[in-house]
Structures are given as C-alpha cells and as structure tokens.
C-alpha cells in the first residue's frame, strides 16, 4: 500500500514550507481558519501534552480535515472540539488542515520521561507484532514502521503523548469515536486491556514523530519528492522471531503468473490471456 501510494503520489512538495532563518525557525503565520487551533495545539501544531492537547503537526491534511468533519458530525465526540469544528466551514477545515499538515514542529521536549525507561516490551510487541490470542494485529500494519503513519489515511502515532493515545484508544473502546469505516480501531481497542493501552501509548510516546509528508489528495504529476525519513527503529527487524522465508521455493525466478491478464507480468509470447485464480 505504501509503495503504491508513493507511486501515485509522485509529485508533491508544492505546499508552502515554513521559512527557516539561521537555524531558528521563524514563527509561521497560521491562516485565519487555523487561528482558533493555535491556542491549544500551538502555532506549529506541536501540541501541549501537559494540558491534554495532542500534537497535530505533520498529520496529513486529509486526516486532520476528516477529524474536524467527524467532530462536527459527532462520529468523534469531544466537548472542546465539537463546537470549534462546527464553527468552521468545510473550506476552512481544509485550510487549517493544510496548514498543520505542512508544519515541521520540533519533536516533543526530552523533559518527558526517558523513552527506554518508560516503554515496555509489551507496548513494543503490540505495536510491531500484535497479539494472536487477543486478535490484535500489529499497529505498524497501518500506522507504518516506527509509527510514522501511512498518509494520507493513516495518522502517525510516533511522538504522540501517552495521555492522548490512551484517551484516543479509550474513545474507540467506548464508542465515542466511530469514524473509521471498517471499525478496525474499535475491535482492536476492545481487545486490549487497560494495561495494554497504557503500554502501547508509552511505546509510541517514546518514538520521534516523522517529518511532514506533504501529500494532498488531488495529485498532479510533477517532480518526485522523497518521503522524509521517519523514525524506523532498526532493532524491530533484528528481533523478528519469524522463520526466514526469504529464499522461497521460486528461488528468485521472475514471477510467471499472469495474475491480471496480459500485462500482468506473466504474459508470455504465445499466450496473452490468463487471469483469475
């Protein structure tokens, strides 16, 4: 999915990036629509975890706009956000979302608890491997290795503060948040114990958030932009308990399956038909 998205999303980087002067980030100018957000989420979207306001910098425009729409519609319930979202027109939501999607705020202060001390094995295992008995797939399937997200649909989790993550998982659990089509998050959150939720929240709080990936929904072709490198812990591969299947029985031969008909790579000179399973 990620690969495919990148293929399609070639040609990005058209969004304004904040100017940097002599290593000192200049104070960006939030558009009018985003003015109300600044007080709690910060001018750069860095959030204010101490007061319960999450980081939103660099979440995709699609994701932020969708959350605003859900707050307005009630599929994500929150007494603070609901009136604010209702007060914004769809265009204003898009503008505010676009602004925060482009922000490259500093990672959370390291005044927070030292990552390694806090993050437990349980949190890391849930995030990277899942739990078969509880039917919890690993978070990274959708939220990306290291929790860097799979924009535009799946938000990053890395660097979100533990209190926000806990509240979000509990909202999925108790049904005050119902804005994912497939109910994935509800079924997953319901399968987690309170301890699991705390562990996974701690795990993600200990990771560094990714740089913004300015993906917008309406892509025109243009020069390719590399996604910014996220925080992919290299140890997650080293610790992989699975048997190595990298050789496989095809032994490196080119794929010969015409799985999508001619033009699927299986096409042969003598037979251009073939599809189906």
């Amino acid at each position: 999915m990620r690969t495919a998205l990148v293929v399609i999303a070639i040609g990005i980087g058209t969004l304004p990036r904040p100017a940097h002067a002599q290593g000192q980030p200049a104070q960006p100018q939030a558009p009018a629509a985003a003015q109300q957000c600044v007080a709690c989420h910060g001018a750069r979207g860095e959030g204010n975890p101490a007061n319960g306001f999450p980081r939103i910098a660099g979440q995709s425009q699609y994701y932020i706009a969708k959350q605003l729409e859900s707050y307005a519609a009630g599929s994500r319930q929150n007494p603070i956000m609901a009136p604010i979202a209702k007060g914004l027109s769809p265009e204003e939501r898009d503008a505010a979302a676009a602004y925060y999607a482009a922000q490259d705020a500093a990672p959370p202060k390291s005044g927070a608890p030292a990552p390694q001390a806090q993050a437990s094995d349980r949190g890391r295992i849930l995030a990277t491997t899942g739990d078969n008995n509880r039917r919890v797939p690993a978070c990274i399937n959708c939220h990306g290795p290291g929790g860097i997200g799979e924009p535009p649909v799946y938000p990053y989790l890395a660097g979100l503060d533990a209190a926000y993550m806990t509240a979000a998982l509990n909202a999925w659990r108790n049904g005050t948040r119902r804005n994912d089509g497939g109910q994935q998050m509800a079924t997953i959150a319901n399968a987690l114990t309170p301890d699991d939720i705390a562990a996974v929240a701690q795990h993600y709080a200990s990771l560094t958030p990714p740089k913004p990936i300015p993906v917008t929904l309406a892509q025109k072709s243009g020069p390719a932009t590399k996604p910014a490198p996220g925080n992919v812990p290299s140890s997650s591969h080293a610790a992989d308990p699975r048997p190595d299947k990298s050789v496989g029985v095809g032994q490196g031969a080119a794929t010969t399956g015409g799985t999508q008909g001619p033009g699927g790579s299986g096409e042969s000179k003598t037979d251009r038909s073939g599809n189906a399973r």
Binding site: I8, G130, N132, Q184, S246, G250, P262, S273, A276, R277
Partner: protein, 589 residues
Amino acid sequence: MATRRAEADAVLLGVGMVGAMVGRELTRAGLKVVGLERGEPQFTVPDFQGPHMHDELRYSVRKALMQDTAKETFTFRHAANETALPIRRLASFLPGTGLGGSLVHWNGQTYRFQDSDFRLRTHTTERYGKNFIPADVTIQDWGVTAAELEPYFDRFEYLMGTSGKAGNIKGRKIAGGNPFEDPRSREYPTPPQKEPYGSAMFRKAASSLGYHPFPQPSCNLSQPYTNPEGQELKTCTFCGFCERYGCEHFAKSTAQTTLLPALLSDPNFELRTGCQVVKINVDNTQKTATGVTYIGANGEEIEQPAKLVIVGMFALNNVRMLLLSKIGQPYDPASGSGVVGRNYAYQTTSSVQVFYDESVNINPFMRSGANGTLIADFVSDNFDHGPLAFIGGAYIGEVMTHGRPIEFHPTPPGTPSWGSAWKKAVLQHYNHTTVLNIHGSSTAIRQNYLDLDPTYKDAWGQPLLRMTFDFPDNDIKMSAYLTDKALEIGKAMGGQQVVGSPRKGPYNITQYQTTHNTGGTVMGTDPSTSVVNRYLQSWDVPNVFVIGASNYPQNASYNPTGTLGALAYWAADAIVTKYLKSPGPLMHI
C-alpha cells in the same frame, strides 16, 4: 523400523482447510484426533504481520507460502505420448504448505456450484438430447443435489462470515443478488464489500446490456463478524495483498481466523507439524486402513495407527496418496477403466483489459482478493447451449485483486516488452486500466488424467504425481464465445482500448491461472466411475474418507472452495451421524 504411536480414533492427513474443518467436527463428537501437517505452524500473529507480509518478491515471486518443489512436486505432459517432466517452479497453480494449507493465501472468492452442475450429465442430456455430449467427454453427476447441500453451504458461509448479497432466499428472488443462484435458506452473514470504481463501471455497462450484475461473495469481510465457533474476524482494509499472502488483519476467512483457535484448544486434538505422510496402511484384507506412516521433522519414520483416516491434503495430493497407498483401481486412459486419477479437470480462464485515458483513475492497489462485481448470465447452463454446441460456461466480472507493483503492468498491445518505452507505458496505464475475468468451467475428458510418474521421485523416494492435461476442444470453444461477450462489456465500459483473447491450447504450465485443480478421486454413486461414494467414503476401504476438490467429477464455472466447504461439512456430518454409529460402508450397491 518405524516407531509406533498410540492409536487415535482418527488421523488427519494434512491440516489445511479440510483437515481443520473435519478435525473440529470429529473432536466435537468426542473422537481423539491427531492432525498431521507436513509444513510449519503459522498464525496471523506473528507470521502474517506487516511490513514483512507485503513483500511481493518473497511471497508472490518466490512463493514463500507454497509447497516446496525442491522436496515434492508434480510432473507434467500435454498428452500420453509425451514424456512428463517435473515442474521445478510452481506457476500455473500454487498449492500451499503449512498449517491452514492453501486457505492461508487464497483470495476468498466464495461460491456455491449450481444444481445443474451437480447433475451435469443428466441435466445436459435432458435439455439437449443424448447426442449432445461428445464421446470423449466423461462428465458425470456428483450424486448430490444443491438442495441436499444447502444446509452445509449455509454452515460453511456462516463459519467464514462470507460477505455477499442473496439473490434467492427460499425461492423468493432478491434484487441486487445473483438471480441465478439456487434457493438459499437465508441472507449471507455479512453484507457485500464496497464496490470499487472499476466494478461500478462494469455494473453499469453489464446492466445496460441486459445482464444481471451482483457483488462477488467474499471471504474478505465487509464488517466485524463473530462466527459460531466464537472466532471474531475484522474488516478487510483493501490493502491489495491477498492472494499469495497471509492476511495481517484477521480479515480473511482462513483456518487460522475461523477454526484453529477452537480446534487447538480442544484436548481431544493433537497437532503435529513437520510430518510428511507417506502412506496409508491397509491390513491384509485390503478393506480396512490401520493408520498412516509418516516421516517426522527429524527424519524418523513413525506409524500412527487410527480407526478412521481423513485425507485432506489438497486435490492433487489426495490423488497421489491413494495411488501410493494402492487404494482403489488406478485409471487407465487406454481402456477407460479404473478410477483413481480419472477425470482430472482445471479451470478455463481468460481476461480482457480495458484501457482508459488518464482522466479515469482506477486505483488498482485499493482492492481485495474477492471484491468486485460480476454476472452469472453465462455460468453453467444459465444460457441456451443448443446452438453453441459446447458444455459449460463462465462468470464474467471486474474482480481485480490487486495493483501490486511487481506483478501489475498493464500495457496495450504494441508496447515493447522492456526498456524505456515499456516503462513509460506502464506509468501511463497503471492507474487507468481495469481487467475483466472470464472464469470458466472445465470438462472432464478421457485423455486428461493423473497417475504416478515412472521416473521422478520426491525427497522421500516416492514417485511424483504425473499430470496429463490439455484444454479440451469443448472448453476452447466456450472460452472463445465468452471472451467475446466480455469484450462487448469492456467496450460498453467506455475504455479507449479493449483488449483480450480467449484461452487457447496448449496449456501453459508456466503461467498462473488458478489453483483450482479438480478430479482424480471423483465422488458418485457408481463405483465403476467414482473413487468415493456420495459421502466421500472410499468404496474400497470404508474407513478412509477422501475430501477435496479431487471429488469433483468435472469443474464448474465458479471458484471451487465454497462447494468444497459444503462437501467437507456434508461428509463430516455423515461420519458423525451415520458412520460412527455403525462403522462400515455408507452406501451399498
């Protein structure tokens, strides 16, 4: 000397789909069951998790979940006058290995064969006269009807949580479903998956031509579902990595997601993996199986005695196991006598590509293994074959399963097959091309069959299974007629260019078509033309049940596994309610 283990009430040969289903039914009935699986144990967590699971090179190209051809493969030839050679790289079909079998990496397209399929010879003769069926076509009736199997179809779909729309509930036609289906007792357990854009264009075009489009019944679930085994499945995310991959989301119905947790926690069940079954042992009377011999993971030969032997090793392996164990008379194509290996059939597929301009975005990567929309107007005998002079049919559908970057490179005819012009064309067409499937039946003919290879052996020194197969003329005709129909629909979909050609011989073993290998241990009511009776019980050795698509006397238009699920429950029910009460033949001739 083989080590002898304590006798079990039943032994399962293979713990794939059939093994898990029948194992569950037998342990529930109180039997002590030992499951022998040649491959590794594997589970959704940790084995199928991302990002590793989306490794196209490892799973699609190198086929990490499939039977290891370095240890065990098949030999192939087109006709009995050729010398067969071993298939060293699987391609045309991809049987799996490991706990859960091929169901781990299937797509989940889940159908019920029609009543006319189950009574093919009788039905065809009744409707078109007794001279309609060519002499070399050995199609026959199954010995069961759709009405008899309905409760078992229903049970299987509710086990799987299949997402679909009924077209006929107890004789009442329901708009939006398949109007050609036989009556079903109730709606599908979950509603259909969302319709992708290409499928929506297909629906519109097919309707405009007077056909009856409906959503493909899917075992990639449209919503969370808890099955009667208490197993909870989640919603498919349309990630595009279904066929050839394990599902990381608990969203594809497999043995892992629907059955295994219940089975494995049953104290009556014991799973042994890494166990290669090499033989079913039969006593001196040749009428009773005493158990099986297998080679354990450390190479030790082990004998597992059992009162009941359940063969569920996948169609091709089922046939081979009976031949290796000398159960049943092997088929001889020269005389037409014998039954084991007879009526091997496949699936006759072709495809049509619809190329749009760059204003139409198909987003092929946003698909699932069994989403999409199709028509059954040309399935089986749903149309008049009289003037056409062939038997069988196909469904036509926009049922694309993926747009994976290594495998999906749509380019129009005339594009060079490599180099910068090819790359440019792929970039131009990747997101603006959709593919229609023509998924057709396969008739059994006298010349196509399976037997043991006289030359080549597996890693344990046993003869490989030899396949002798080419597409029958009947099926070539069918494919030509129906590929034309699909081209018409493609044109009505408004593509700039519509391209496709029917299936032609010779059969190409190096190109993926389907893993829908059928026949060889055919079911029926006449021991001279079938290996097992209508309860899938061996005619020769009544404590051996053989269950798989190998039971199909010929293959129908639809994908086979929905029908196989029904048959597995049907056979398990016969074992529990009839056989266990009085062990012995369930049918007397």
